[in-house]
């Protein structure tokens, strides 16, 4: 039976939850497949996450390895293949708690950066788990700034080998997943030296553990980097290389090669090294960032209609906390953002697929735009979703702080996404560099990609809205965002020019403008997200029931952004003080409207209880009973506390009598 407080929410839905779910999945066929995969995995006790919150680092690692191994069996059993329609749902169903994710990156980097011959050799070995791969890029001293990596690979033409070394402590590989305990091989990035000349960073396949007994290979020191905020199931590792020799053929050579005589040959663009990262950035958004945020919204919103606290009307029952305006203001903008980012992910995916097709034809024209977008959106979306999960956690009060709510684990996991695959600030500055360049080119009349032509488009300098209802027009708010983004880009470009003209060196001028540049990049991404949401809603005409609620969410996402960045829209008078009051009024009016559909809107995400793994967020809403039951499973309650015999008993029995 469902808690009546949740049941009543569902009865009041203004739209069909199932229809929305199907639409989000991209069709009824996808929904069916997804549910079948989730069902198959959740029914299998080997994949249970029941004890997850009670396990030690060692136990979680072991469980993740066990699951990864079992998954191979399962896939075989179920007839799932890596290019089948089920594949993309497996990871979601496992909620990421599985080892060998870096094995996938290992394979992907070989597929993208390796020659046909290398692919033919390594990919079959990897896909049959004859070896386990990792991807060793980050070092103790260097992360996002790849050129700074210090590991060296020196070509020895007499033996036709590369000699890999970690010349100093800061050059030690640090953080790569699956490397601390599991991996037998890794793709290591190192500065290539041939005949004394440095050719920059290149990828090399290096064996680090014996395939026979898993012991470390000669010259290799490797291990686990110790406990982290989360990812306890992953053995993030360190790797120290001392004169490790690998054959010449182990340098990945789709785009460049060292020939037997030491001649260095290059085909195509150096930028291609970034392409793996570009693709990873886009693919991580969905599973690692947006899905966790959707889960957090589901938990917090369901809990907020079950939890009753204080009274709104004297004499009545205590109110559901979601009926408080302040609670709505915390959660509903996050819900709107979850949808906004779900849609921007589709947009990016399409952009990326187009780009990938071109790159395979060795046409790199789209790479700068692709790179700029993947950087900027990775930064903006991960930052936003991380804050959102934290807001959800805190909106659940004390119980949110319990691991059993599931929220601490979601939070500590998602926040790593702000750093890995490129630190967010640096990524924003890369996007800003692209925007400034496009702005300059467009100002000079040169062609730029369609996504940025708005930077120099002539538009009105004042917002035409006359009353608060005008702000529910997508044209009005999209233009406000466009204006704001264009203003920030152009004013920063002007500031840069001023500084340079006044004699400041270019790099100093750039550093002096970085705070503004990062803001401009964010504004651009925010604008694209608002615009894409509005356009997505527009395309929904065939489904009126869903379109209406999606329109509300689109409005809320946009107006909340204006409300919380009021200064940026007021700054040059684009919005007047009176118009800002209208925005606020419209924004606050939307809250109770969306409030009515809040539970159906999270139900539509269609997470099973097992995948949420939360005592607060389950579908039936029996929050308190579940909290109580789960707490009793805690190992701390299973035995008499060992601390009692050792410390408490002597403490309680008079050893203090001497005082």
């Amino acid at each position: 039976s469902v808690n009546p407080d949740l049941a009543s929410e569902r009865q009041a839905a203004s739209f069909s939850v199932e229809k929305l779910t199907v639409w989000l999945d991209g069709g009824v066929e996808n929904t069916r497949t997804r549910r079948a995969v989730v069902e198959a995995i959740e029914c299998d006790p080997e994949f249970s996450r029941e004890d997850q919150y009670f396990q030690s680092q060692n136990e979680r690692y072991e469980a993740a390895v066990r699951k990864a191994v079992h998954l191979q069996k399962k896939m075989h059993e179920m007839g799932w293949t890596e290019d089948g329609p089920e594949y993309k749902y497996i990871y979601r169903a496992l909620a990421g708690d599985v080892a060998f994710l870096l094995h996938r990156i290992f394979m992907r980097s070989i597929s993208m950066l390796g020659s046909d011959k290398q692919i033919a050799k390594w990919i079959p070995l990897a896909s049959q788990y004859k070896l386990i791969g990792s991807y060793a890029q980050t070092e103790l001293g260097h992360g996002t700034y790849l050129q700074g990596l210090e590991t060296t690979a020196v070509f020895d033409s007499t033996t036709q080998e590369f000699i890999l070394n970690t010349p100093k402590i800061s050059a030690m590989k640090w953080w790569p997943g699956d490397m601390g305990r599991s991996a037998t091989h890794t793709v290591a990035f190192a500065q290539l030296y041939v005949q004394g000349k440095c050719y920059g960073v290149h990828p090399f396949i290096v064996q680090i553990r014996s395939l026979r007994d898993h012991s470390l290979c000669p010259g290799i020191t490797a291990g686990d980097i110790g406990p982290k905020m989360n990812f306890e199931h992953v053995d993030n590792g360190f790797l120290l290389l001392q004169s490790v020799r690998i054959p010449r053929e182990n340098m990945l050579s789709r785009f460049c090669e060292v020939q037997p005589d030491g001649t260095y040959v290059r085909w195509g663009s150096q930028k291609i090294y970034y392409f793996t990262m570009t693709s990873v950035r886009i693919s991580l958004l969905s599973d690692e960032v947006i899905v966790p945020m959707m889960k957090a919204c589901t938990i917090a919103i369901r809990y907020s209609v079950v939890r009753r606290q204080s009274k709104l009307k004297p004499g009545e029952q205590e109110a559901k906390i979601l009926d408080y305006q302040t609670q709505q203001e915390k959660l509903l903008p996050q819900l709107a953002a979850a949808y906004a980012f779900y849609f921007i992910n589709d947009y990016l995916q399409e952009l990326f697929d187009n780009g990938y097709r071109e790159i395979q034809k060795k046409n790199f024209d789209m790479l700068p735009e692709l790179h700029a977008f993947s950087s900027g959106f990775k930064a903006v979306v991960s930052q936003h979703c991380t804050s959102a999960v934290e807001i959800c956690l805190r909106a659940c009060g004390g119980h949110g702080y319990s691991s059993l709510s599931g929220l601490p684990a979601l939070y500590t996991k998602i926040l790593a996404s702000c750093i890995y695959e490129g630190e967010n600030t640096i990524l924003l500055l890369q996007t800003a560099r692209f925007l400034i360049k496009c702005f300059m080119e467009a100002s000079a009349g040169q062609p730029v990609p369609p996504s940025v032509t708005y930077l120099v488009a002539v538009k009105p300098m004042r917002c035409p809205a006359k009353n608060k209802l005008d702000f529910l027009s997508p044209a009005i708010y999209t233009e406000a965002y466009q204006h704001m983004a264009a203003r920030l880009v152009s004013s920063t470009a002007a500031k840069l020019q001023d500084l340079i003209q006044s004699g400041v060196k270019k790099h100093d001028a750039w550093n002096q403008c970085t705070v503004q540049l990062a803001q401009a990049a964010k504004a651009h991404c925010h604008y694209i997200t608002v615009k894409n949401f509005a356009e997505t809603v527009e395309k929904l005409q065939a489904q009126a029931g869903i379109q209406k609620i999606m329109k509300h969410l689109s409005d809320l996402f946009a107006l909340h952004g204006i409300f919380s960045n009021a200064g940026a829209f007021l700054h040059d008078g684009y919005l007047s003080g009176a118009q800002m009051d209208m925005v606020t009024a419209s924004y606050l009016d939307l809250l109770p409207l969306i409030r009515k559909d809040a539970v159906p809107l999270v139900d539509a995400f269609d997470f099973t209880d097992k995948s949420l793994n939360s005592a607060l967020g389950s579908y039936d809403g029996h929050v308190y009973q579940r909290l109580y039951e789960w707490a009793q499973k805690s190992p701390t309650n299973k035995q008499m506390s060992p601390a009692y015999e050792k410390y408490l008993k002597p403490l309680l029995h008079n050893k203090l009598s001497k005082l």
Binding site: G180, Y420, A631
Partner: protein, 667 residues
């Protein structure tokens, strides 16, 4: 000298370049050179004591961490008495060094159980319970929060029904939601609890009262019949605390176990009312003022780690062809960290102010003069929320500013964060706190509107009525703000607070005029009300920081604190430009100047950044961070630390034989 020899060269250079003496600033933070001396003396007492040494807690399981904490806590109580340390602040230092800034299982016993006995027990009850509790024969906790109710105390459901026949109270947890949930030390440690329950006598509910309830058998430590007690399971942080649950089924305690210094139940069941219920305000003010201080300290620790690490870490290039610069030289890094550094200082002074004000008026309180209490209560509620929210976000920004390594437990920041973040919830959920402050602000606004004058921190509201007579004055205000003068910025913040309080009060009135009920109107205005409270608190912080500057005699220290104060004020404006622009407190041009001046201040503060965190004077052991080490030898020590990780205990992990090897042979 040996330590100096191995100090990281970057940090050595930073320290040499400081424009002020770090000790002088440390003295200001401690409240005088003598206090600093004494603090360091106590610190040395603890840190040199082999009894308080143990393995890095990051490598221990939760149960092991609890064990270590209990071990240290019992030694701590013994040694405090041995050393004769009795001053509350000195006890706080001692405890904080022993537990390295973390909570400990006896916190509720020492911080709530004993003080509650002192303030609310009758002399007879004190005879019975206090000395046994003092000697730890009784270990108690304070069981208030239930599964279904936290900040909203009136909603608590536990009942205590008086039975005149046996002269006992019958305690019950009538629903799942009424199970006591969260009290620290309840799960495993305590044998008694002070339980808050709805008192029923002669068929009537008399509201919440406190009862002393034995929960475990003395001697065996087993739960008593009628008591179900246990640990609530793993949490985000607080690993060393056994937060617990407690369920009572027709559990009987003698009448004399109700704390009866104020309210009483006579043997026949007659209820005698307490004199005043405002007295509990005092304790709340005190505890919330501690949280303000905690916000400052936790943020200071995070800033220390992030700023030292940013001076050690080199990355990328600023100038082509030159060596990689310290990441602290990047404007974006300064922009992340220096406003937080300024905030840490600001909150420190705010914490001092509340503590001092509380001590000043607590004499009045015990004399029965409660006149200053409502304002202090309202102010403390808001500042508790304002500072804990800001510090909470700030600690995360510090962690993020350390990049990937910040995410490792070795950075120490994850621990600071998970330990600090529940303070946004406990002792009053922050949004509820903000609304309490708002209630006071609206009340004050209404007083002003009806022609009365208000005093204290809200006296700026008096200006609103004057401005209404001369509306031109508002416009005239804009040109008078001088953005390099802290006193002038205080005025700008004052104007913002006044405007937002007025707007919220007017919106509330408009809702009421729509014939809505008081509660509904309040709810529909609460977003505005919270904004008004935030603006009020922000103003108070800027004002107190500015006021502090004039008290500082050393010119070099005053200069650097003035820079921080300006940065704090200007950064706050740049993050809330909408509020200042919308009503014309500042113009577009001034906002541009503010943004520009913020960036100039970053460059001005840069040379003193490391010295400014050194002044917080956290010992490495207390800081618990490899990234934030005083000597800056980060990378070597990260490697040393990682080698101790539990996963590295064997070269080949057992899972290889169990899982990996079989699959490799099969495929």
């Amino acid at each position: 000298a040996a330590a100096m020899a191995v100090m990281n060269a970057d940090l050595r250079r930073e320290r040499a370049a400081a424009t002020f003496q770090t000790e002088l600033l440390t003295h200001i933070l401690d409240g005088g050179a003598e206090r600093t001396r004494r603090r360091k003396e106590i610190e040395a007492l603890v840190l040199n004591d082999p009894d308080f040494q143990h393995e890095d807690l990051n490598f221990l399981s939760r149960s092991e961490r609890y064990e270590q904490a209990i071990r240290k806590s019992s030694l701590m109580v013994m040694k405090l008495r041995e050393y004769g340390i009795a001053d509350p602040e000195e006890i706080y230092w001692f405890k904080s060094f022993v537990h390295r800034g973390r909570p400990e299982p006896l916190d509720l016993h020492l911080g709530m159980f004993l003080p509650t006995l002192l303030t609310q027990a009758t002399p007879e009850q004190q005879d019975r319970f206090f000395m046994p509790a003092w000697n730890l024969d009784i270990i108690g906790t304070y069981a208030q929060t239930e599964m279904g109710h936290g900040t909203h105390l009136r909603g608590l459901e536990t009942t205590a029904t008086y039975d005149p026949a046996t002269q006992e109270f019958i305690l019950n947890s009538p629903t799942v939601t009424s199970i006591k949930w969260w009290p620290g030390g309840l799960g495993k440690t305590s044998n008694h609890a002070i339980v808050l329950a709805q008192l029923y006598t002669q068929g009537q509910c008399k509201g919440l009262h406190a009862f002393i309830v034995p929960i475990r058998q003395l001697g065996t430590h087993k739960p008593l019949p009628g008591i179900t007690v246990g640990d609530i399971g793993p949490k985000f942080g607080f690993d060393e605390i056994d937060n617990g649950y407690l369920k009572m089924d027709n559990y009987r305690i003698p009448r004399e176990n109700m704390l009866m210094k104020y309210a009483q139940v006579e043997p026949d069941g007659t209820y005698v009312k307490p004199v005043s219920d405002k007295l509990t305000y005092g304790t709340m003010v005190f505890i919330r003022s501690l949280i303000v201080g905690d916000s400052a300290r936790s943020l200071s620790r995070a800033c220390t780690i992030a700023i030292r690490y940013s001076a050690v870490r080199h990355q990328s290039e600023l100038k082509p062809g030159e060596p990689e610069p310290q990441i602290l030289d990047y404007q974006t890094q300064q922009y992340k960290l220096f406003p937080l550094l300024a905030t840490a200082y600001a909150f420190h002074f705010v914490g001092d102010y509340i503590k001092n004000t509380y001590h000043r008026i607590s004499g009045d309180i015990s004399d029965g003069d409660l006149s200053e209490l409502p304002e202090l209560h309202a102010l403390t509620a808001g500042l508790k929320a304002f500072t804990s929210w800001t510090a909470n976000a700030g600690i995360e920004e510090c962690r993020m500013a350390c990049g990937g390594h910040g995410y490792s437990r070795c950075s120490g920041i994850p621990d600071i964060y998970v330990t600090f973040t529940p303070s946004c919830t406990y002792e009053g959920e922050n949004t509820v706190m903000m609304l309490q402050t708002a209630r006071f602000l609206v009340k004050s606004y209404r007083q002003v509107s009806s022609g009365q004058q208000v005093t204290g921190m809200v006296s700026y509201l008096n200006d609103l009525s004057r401005q209404r007579i001369q509306p031109q004055r508002v416009a005239a205000r804009t040109v008078t703000v001088r953005i390099t003068d802290p006193a002038s910025l205080v005025e700008a913040y004052k104007a913002r607070a006044a405007r937002l309080v007025e707007a919220a009060a007017k919106n509330l009135q408009a809702e009421l005029n729509h014939r809505k009920s008081k509660e509904e109107a309040w709810n529909r205005t609460s977003v505005d009300l919270v904004r008004a409270s935030e603006a009020h608190c922000h103003y108070v912080v800027v004002k107190l920081f500015t006021a502090k500057l004039s008290e500082i005699s050393n010119a070099a220290v005053r200069a650097v604190l003035t820079e921080l104060c300006l940065l704090y004020a200007l950064y706050g404006i740049s993050k809330n430009t909408g509020d200042f622009l919308q009503v014309g407190i500042l113009t577009d041009a001034q906002i541009t100047q503010v943004n520009q001046h913020v960036k100039e201040l970053l460059a001005i503060i840069r040379p003193n950044a490391v010295a400014l965190v050194d002044s917080f004077d956290f010992h490495d052991v207390h800081l618990g961070s490899v990234l934030g080490r005083y000597d800056g030898n980060v990378y070597e020590n990260m490697f040393e630390w990682a080698k101790k990780s539990p996963l590295n205990k064997t070269e080949v992990h057992q899972s290889f034989h169990k899982h990996l090897k079989p699959i490799q042979s099969k495929l």
